[in-house]
Symmetry: C2
Subunit: 373 residues, 2 copies
C-alpha cells in the first residue's frame, strides 16, 4: 500500500479532524497516539501485547538504533519491522532531538551535528543526508528530517537562526530521500515566537512534505504558551496533510491538540509513568505505591477492559511495584497505553458525531470528581 | 477436586514413572517441572504467558510473601491464586530454605528459626506451626513443612541432629495442619550421608504424608554425590506417593531425576538464567550476548514453537539484552520455560512408550553435537 492521507471530516464547532493514513504496513485512523519504542521495543511489551491493546502505529528512535545495534545491522536483517517483529506502521524520528537532549557535548554547524555517543563517548556525526540514510535502512513508514529542536528559553535571534537552519536541512533531507515509498514529514520550529512559527509553517509547506510536524514544544514552557505556539503553526498548515505534534503529551494535552486540529501525537509519558508506577485513569493519575491501595481489591480503573484491569487488583499491582518485579512495568504499561488508545478512540468517535465539545466537557468533569491531578 | 496421586505406569527398564496429580486447582501429569514465582510472579511473565507456555504448576516462596506483602493481606484478598490471577495448581515451600540462604543472622532451636528480614532487618520467627499457618493463608494446593536445609558440608553429627529436628518439626507441621484440602509433603534430609537419607525417608513415611520431597541437595556438592543421595532417599519412598526433588535443576539433572523415579522438580535456573541471557537448547546453553549472534537471523532454537522462537531472531534478542530492555528478560524466560516444559513432555512420552533409555541417549548425543556446555 502506498502512503496517503485522507481527511474524512472536520468537526462542526472545533478544529478537530477525522482522518485516515495509509502506509506500506497498514492503515489507521487519526487522530492517533503513537507509543514510543525507543530501542526497537516498547519497553516491556511484545508486539502481541501492542496488538491486543489496539496500538495502530509506534515510534522508534533513530538515535538509539543508530548507536546500537546500528542501522546497517537492522537493514541487513530486513529492516526494523522484521527485526522487532512489529508489522504495523512505524514512524522514526530523525535522531536530532536525542542528540540535543542526551549528549552533553555536541556541536551544530551548517553541515549537521557532531556529538559524543551517550553509550561510550565515541564521536558521531549526524547530517541531514545521513539522518535520511539511516531511516531508509531502518525502513520506517514515516520518516522525519534532521532539525534543531530550539532550546527553551531562546532569544529571538537564536530561534530565527535555528529555524532557518532547520529549513535548509529540511530541503537537503527532501533532496537526499529516495523514491522508496517512505513518507517524509517537515518539522515546524520557531521557538516561542508566533511569527516565526508562522514563517516556518509557510516555508515548509512551500517546500512540500507528506505531512507536517510541530517540533520544539513541550520543552519546559507553560501549557498556555505551548498551545499558542501550536496554534500559530497549525493554522498555516494545509488541510490535506496530517499534522503531528511531537512529544506531546499528557491526556489533557491530547484533548487540546485534537481540538486544535492535530492528527498525530507521541510521548513517553504513558510508558515512562507506567514504569514509575503512575497510572492514568478517567479521574486522573493514580500512584500505585500509595498506601491506600495496599489492600484494594479493585482494578486500576473500574470498567477498563485492558488485560491488567481485567485480571489484577490494585493491591497486587502495588505489591509488584513495591517488590520491583518486572511484571509491574509491563502490566502498568499495558494499562496506560490502553487508556491512551481508548482516549483517542473516544475522541475520534466524538468528532464523527460532531460532539467534541461535549466530550471535552465530560473529560474535564470526570477529572474534577476526585482530588487526583 | 480433592488432592490425589495416581501412578499410571513405571517404565520397563528404568525407575522412571508416569503419574497424575489432582489438586483443588486442576490436575497435571508427572514428571513435571515447576517454575518458580518467588514473590507472586514468575519474573516477567503474566499468567497468560504461563498458560501459553504450557506450565502446569508453579512454586511460590512462603518466605518472600510472608515478608511482603504478608500472608494475611493475601489471605484477606482471597488467597494467592486470586491475588496473582493464576488459577492452576500452586506449591508453596515452607520458607525455611530462604531463611537459611538469605538471612545472615538466624538462630535455630527446637521451637523454630529466628531471623532478621533481608528487606529491613526486622526480627521474625518461623515455627513449624506458623509455617503451616502462613501457607494455609496463602492457600496453595501443596504445602511443605518447615525443615532445616542441612548446610554443605556438614559433619555427621550435625547432619543427624539437623535431620532429627526436621523430623520433629514434620510431626508438628502435620499436627498443626487443618483438614482443608491442602496436601502436605514430608521433606527428607540427612546431609550427604546415605544411611541418614534412608533413615529420614523411612521416618517420614512412618509419619505419613501426601507426598515426599528430597531436600538439601544441589547445595554445592558434586553431581555424582547429589545423585547418590537422591537415590538413597528415593528407594525408600512409597510407590503410591509423588516424589519431589527440591531445587533441582539443570536439564541433565531432570533427566537423571526422572530416570531415578522423581515426579516433581523446581529450580530458578530456567528463569534466572534467562534474565542473565543464558538460553537452553537441545544442544546446550546459548549465551545470547556472544558476538557470534550479533547478526544471526535464526531463532534461539530451530524448530522450537515458543513465542520467542516463532517471532524473534538471535540478533534481536542479543540487541534487547545488550540494551538492558525489559523485554529481553521476558522473551528469554518464555523460551527457557518452554524448553523445560518440552523436555518434561518428551520424557513423559518416552516413559509411556517404554523408551526412556533411548530418549536419554538422544538427549546427551544432541548436546555432544556442539561444543556448547
Amino acid at each position: 500500500m502506498e502512503y496517503g492521507f485522507e481527511l474524512l471530516k472536520k468537526e462542526r464547532s472545533t478544529g478537530a479532524r477525522l482522518g485516515r493514513i495509509k502506509t506500506p504496513h497498514g492503515e489507521f485512523s487519526t487522530p492517533v497516539f503513537m507509543p514510543v519504542g525507543t530501542r526497537g521495543s516498547v519497553k516491556g511489551l511484545s508486539p502481541a501485547d501492542l496488538e491486543e491493546i489496539g496500538v495502530d502505529i509506534i515510534l522508534a528512535n533513530t538515535y538509539h538504533l543508530y548507536l546500537r545495534p546500528g542501522h546497517e545491522l537492522i537493514g541487513s536483517l530486513g529492516g526494523l519491522h522484521r527485526f522487532m517483529n512489529w508489522h504495523g506502521p512505524i514512524l522514526t524520528d530523525s535522531g536530532g532531538f536525542q542528540v540535543f537532549s542526551l549528549c552533553g557535548l555536541r556541536k551544530i554547524d551548517e553541515g549537521g551535528v557532531r556529538f559524543n555517543s551517550h553509550l561510550d563517548g565515541s564521536k558521531c556525526v549526524l547530517t541531514p543526508e545521513s539522518a535520511i540514510g539511516i531511516q531508509e535502512a531502518l525502513g520506517a513508514d514515516i520518516i522525519m528530517p534532521l532539525d534543531e529542536c530550539t532550546p527553551y528559553p531562546a532569544d529571538r535571534e537564536y530561534a530565527l537562526n535555528s529555524m532557518n537552519l532547520t529549513h535548509r536541512w529540511a530541503l537537503r533531507c527532501k533532496a537526499a530521500k529516495s523514491a522508496n515509498g517512505q513518507a517524509l514529514f517537515g518539522i515546524v520550529q520557531g521557538g516561542m515566537y508566533g511569527d516565526l512559527r508562522e514563517d516556518s509553517a509557510r516555508t515548509l509547506v512551500d517546500i512540500g512534505f507528506d505531512g507536517y510536524a510541530v517540533g520544539g514544544l513541550s520543552v519546559g514552557e507553560e501549557k498556555a504558551l505551548m498551545q499558542e505556539m501550536a496554534y500559530a503553526a497549525l493554522r498555516h498548515l494545509p488541510e490535506d496533510r496530517p499534522r503531528y505534534l511531537m512529544g506531546v503529551g499528557a491526556p489533557e494535552d491530547l484533548v487540546f491538540g485534537v481540538e486544535a486540529g492535530v492528527d498525530m501525537f507521541d510521548c513517553v509519558m504513558p510508558t515512562r509513568n507506567a514504569r514509575n508506577g503512575t497510572l492514568f485513569t478517567r479521574r486522573g493519575k493514580l500512584v500505585i505505591k500509595n498506601a491506600q491501595y495496599e489492600r484494594d481489591p479493585s482494578p486500576v480503573e473500574e470498567g477498563c477492559s485492558c488485560y491488567t484491569c481485567r485480571n489484577f487488583s490494585r493491591a497486587y499491582l502495588r505489591h509488584l511495584f513495591m517488590s520491583g518485579e518486572i511484571l509491574a512495568a509491563r502490566l502498568n504499561t499495558v494499562h496506560n497505553l490502553y487508556y491512551y488508545a481508548g482516549l483517542m478512540k473516544e475522541m475520534r468517535s466524538a468528532i464523527k458525531d460532531d460532539r467534541f465539545e461535549a466530550f471535552k466537557k465530560g473529560f474535564f468533569e470526570d477529572r474534577a470528581l476526585t482530588g487526583r491531578e
